[in-house]
Amino acid sequence: MRVPVRSHRARRAAALGLLTTGAVLLPAADAFAGLFAPEGGGSPNANSIRELYLFIFGLGCIVFFGVGGLFLYTIRRYRARKGAVAAQIHGNTRLEIAWTLGAAALLVLIAVATFIKLPSIENPPNSGPGGLPLSAATGSWVPASSAQNLPPNGKSLQIDVNGQQYVWRYTYPDADKNNLNNVFSYQEMVVPTNTTVTLSIRSQDVAHSWWIPQLGGKFDAIPGYTNYTWFKISKPGLYKGQCAELCGRNHANMTAQVRAVTPAQFVAWYQRQKTNIATADKLAAAERTALTAAQAKLAAKANALNAAQNAGTTGAIKSAPAAASAAAGKALFVTGNPSTGALACGACHTLKAAGTAGQTGPNLDTGLAGKAPAFILTSIVNPGKDITKGYQNGIMPANYAKTLTKQQLASLVAYIVSVHGK
């Protein structure tokens, strides 16, 4: 008695299942575009894949519902009943051959359909009449690599796609071999409509996979390899996708989108990018020029002073009298130049005009009175040359030529001369 109840229940469940399926299917087919088949509508290759899929889907339904139906019929029809006796059949060679050939025929059919559809999936067509004119007139675009499938006329907008954890970078190569000067963008790729776009897909770290469902299948970005694909968009709009190969923790966030705009808008965008790059280049160049000029000026001065030192100290002072300043000299005399370790003269020497009263070294009010600037300079940079009586050689630092610049030395000499000149 339980058997009919159960089959009743099963029938009710089946009806409920059908109703639910119907309720899911009823809404506009558009809203559930991805329910039964991969997305298409963006590019002809995606559409061809979708058509091939639908062909296999049709055959698959026949097989699934055919075989499944036969199976369900069999288990209902031949369930154990009173008095039923199972037929002791061991096999049937003809039947075996028949369904082997049947399955093979079905697969041949699918293989043929695949090879019929394949050219429209793998070979890009020429750009449409309304597309970006990819000729010498606009031709800042370089032709794509010969390793990939190209349109019959060989002209396509080539974009290099580079995967990296966790973003896509797109470079639009042009005649400038330095790809840092090429237009590029991250995450969003801008392309013209009605134009065949060919992609070279690479990775710089781990494996990624380029996939915009509406623009065709996915192509892995494998480090060390280059993969190729293409698309051609007729409707302006935004086509979204994301990385399809596990590439690390934020794999889910490695999204991509293609913005299709009219060729005119594309040219404008492209030119804007180019201009931005050029402007940035110009600013950088100007800055670079200014810096170079300033550098050159300093170098020239240094060279001059070097030359002066080589020629002899007197010459240096004569050649740069304007640079010498008695006031600066006085400051140096009193405080020295702590940043280079030049001790103040006044710490050891007495000079009334400077207000110093050091006793370590000779009194300069008397010791240098009436001396020539050359003698004064020598006494500073080479103190051991002429030792005042009563003082030891080596007390005074012998490194003033290093710790003071030539200009500072000149100032110092000028100051001392000016003191004694009064």
């Binding site: 575009a33 991805g34 039964f36 991969p38 997305e39 894949i49 979708r50 091939l52 899929y53 296999i56 097989v63 699934f64 075989v67 499944g68 036969l70 199976f71 069999t74 288990i75 031949y78 369930r79 154990a80 006796v85 199972a86 002791q88 059949i89 061991h90 096999g91 075996e96 369904w99 082997t100 399955a103 093979a104 697969l107 293989a111 695949t114 559809k117 999936i121 770290d205 494996a207 996979s209 065709g216 299948g217 996915k218 192509f219 892995d220 494998i222 480090p223 060390g224 390899y225 996708g241 399809a244 190969e245 596990l246 590439c247 690390g248 923790r249 934020n250 794999h251 889910a252 966030n253």
Partner: protein, 566 residues
């Protein structure tokens, strides 16, 4: 006259019987289990450990489904999510299905072929403990950092630069330890089947389950060394300065993919062929008919294994490969559908004109047929390489391989559990609870995975921890999450059923199903030596012959005895 008439004595009846006079009882303490070399005890330990790992892997799956139940969910961090799906996949393949099949094979192969144990009992124990060690080492990574690279562990993501923690090393250990276990187990099966069959059991009378286990053993022997080499190269890349998979130093990430899938695709058949074998045992018993086309099914098994070893690059259709390679692997994959289709037709033909009894093992066998059929049909989509370009690495693929693996391996294993539990334990599982469990599992499974095809077709890649609610992805995922909990509940019912029936199940007797193969010839559970006398095998259904012989002889006995009595 009557005095001279000799009544047929019991000793004259040539009916083979178990006469267990002098069998040493096995110990029952836990040490006797740890040290056992008995194939039945090893089989049971394999199966129990596999069930534990099934539950762990199942909980991981439920956590994944919880995270995906809602768009833009932040229940689980990306790091934990990646670790979860990696551990789920590896657990189900290496720690649930492979050892479960090894366990079922261990228990049944010697019994089915009339042998007293495996050919190498101590090697058999080593296999078990290596598998357990692999599981422990792998789950030890929970203490530091589990792998996050997916069960395929593609280089260069699995290289030290991008996965510096020890998780990938735990993966390498897992593959090595369970790999050696499977390899040794496979050799053991091969030698046992080749040499220890009952008298009269030629290759044409080998039970179909044993045929599939033999084929599986060959596949393991071919493919395990390749994956062992692949992970060894990964190990030296990570720790000893080699660059096999490092493109910045002349290595190739595609090398890993080729080596991995050279193992990885035969692995699919390693998992489902024994399932096919279990189905080929269950269907004839419960439709009371011989298997239809025994030779065709055995040949199809070998055909699947052969072609299945030459299709690995269909996992790589989106990588930079020449068209010739894509076409070759696409057509080879089409070819593998033919022997698979042959099997399905043979199974349906086995049911045709039978008297089908819907006991629980039969229900699971029917669930297998319907579910695996869809898995096979979606496989054709994926085999067509331009179509695969859209489907690869999406939830369509996730749905497809769950249909083939759960449909092709887990349903048969559950059916096999209900079928052979009486033999393992001496008690029947509850039929009522089993039926509930089957229907809940079937509904739960289809609810979880059918809709995942749509999620994939709507643009959802696999292995993403979050997704935006576009193209109804949230709806599909909600349905799937609800289904996964229904499925888990169904599995739980069977676990409860097993635990209850161990003590409270009806006593089974040696042959509760009136089955066909030799394991039903001995007591339930069988004694340590399996058989005292091994009957001569005269067909592929020796137990049917034996039952007929018993009937005939008892009729003769009755006929002979009747005049004497009158």
């Amino acid at each position: 006259m009557t005095t001279t008439q000799i009544a047929p004595s019991p000793s004259v009846t040539a009916v083979p019987e178990i006469v267990a006079h002098d069998v040493r009882r096995e110990g029952t303490g836990w040490i006797s289990w740890l040290t056992t070399t008995d194939h039945k005890r090893i089989g049971i330990m394999y199966m129990v450990a596999s069930w534990i790992f099934l539950i762990i892997g199942g909980v991981e799956a439920l956590l994944i489904r919880l995270q995906l139940g809602q768009a833009d969910n932040d229940f689980i961090t990306p790091q934990s999510y990646n670790a979860l799906f990696t551990m789920h996949g590896l657990t189900m393949v290496f720690l649930f299905l492979m050892p479960m099949i090894a366990g079922v094979g261990n228990y049944l192969i010697p019994l089915m072929i009339g042998a007293r144990d495996m050919a190498f009992p101590r090697l058999n124990a080593l296999s078990l403990w290596l598998f357990i060690a692999g599981g422990l080492v792998f789950y030890g990574s929970l203490l530091y950092s589990p792998p996050e690279c997916g069960w395929t562990c593609y280089a260069p993501l699995s290289e030290a630069t991008y996965s510096p923690t020890g998780g990938v090393d735990a993966f390498i250990f897992l593959v090595h330890l369970t790999g050696i276990a499977s390899f040794l187990g496979a050799m053991n099966f091969f030698v046992t089947i080749a040499n220890m069959r009952a008298p009269g059991m030629g290759w044409g009378r080998l039970p179909l389950f044993v045929w599939t286990m033999l084929t599986q053993a060959i596949l393991l022997i071919i493919s395990i060394p390749v994956v062992a080499a692949a992970v060894t190269l990964l190990l030296t890349d990570r720790h000893f300065g080699t660059h096999f998979y490092d493109p910045t130093n002349g290595g190739s990430p595609l090398l890993w993919q080729h080596l991995f899938w050279f193992f990885g695709h035969p692995e699919v058949y390693i998992l489902v062929l024994p399932g096919f074998g279990i189905i080929s045992e269950i269907l004839p018993v419960f439709s009371r008919k011989p298997i239809f086309g025994y030779k065709a099914i055995a040949a199809a098994t070998l055909g699947i294994a052969f072609i299945g070893s030459l299709v690995w690059a269909h996992h790589m259709f989106t990588t930079p490969l020449p068209y010739a390679v894509l076409v070759f692997f696409s057509l080879m994959t089409f070819l593998v559908a033919i022997p698979t289709g042959v099997k399905i037709f043979n199974w349906i033909a086995t049911l045709w004109r039978g008297t089908i009894e819907f006991r629980v093992p039969m229900l699971f066998a029917c669930g297998f047929l319907g579910t695996f059929l869809l898995g096979g049909v979606t496989g054709i989509f994926l085999a067509t390489f331009p179509v695969d370009w859209q489907l690869q690495d999406t939830y369509f693929v996730v749905a497809h391989f769950h249909y083939t693996i759960i449909g092709g391996a887990v349903f048969p294993i559950l059916g096999g559990l209900y079928y052979w539990f009486p033999k393992f334990s001496g008690r029947m599982l509850s039929e009522r609870m089993g039926k509930w469990s089957f229907w809940i599992i079937l509904v739960g499974f289809w609810t979880t995975f059918l809709v995942q095809h749509a999620a994939g077709l709507s643009g959802m890649p696999r292995r993403i921890y979050e997704y935006a609610d576009v193209n109804h992805l949230q709806l599909y995922n909600e349905i799937s999450t609800v289904g996964s909990f229904i499925l888990a509940f169904g599995i739980l019912l069977t676990v409860v059923n097993v635990l209850r029936s161990l003590k409270h199940g009806a006593v089974a007797g040696p042959d509760p199903w009136k089955a066909n193969t030799l394991e039903w010839f001995t007591t339930s559970p069988p004694p340590a030596n399996n058989f005292d006398t091994v009957p001569r095998v005269r067909s592929v259904e020796p137990m049917k012959d034996i039952r007929r012989q018993v009937e005939r002889q008892s009729r003769e006995l009755a006929a002979a005895g009747a005049p004497a009595g009158s």
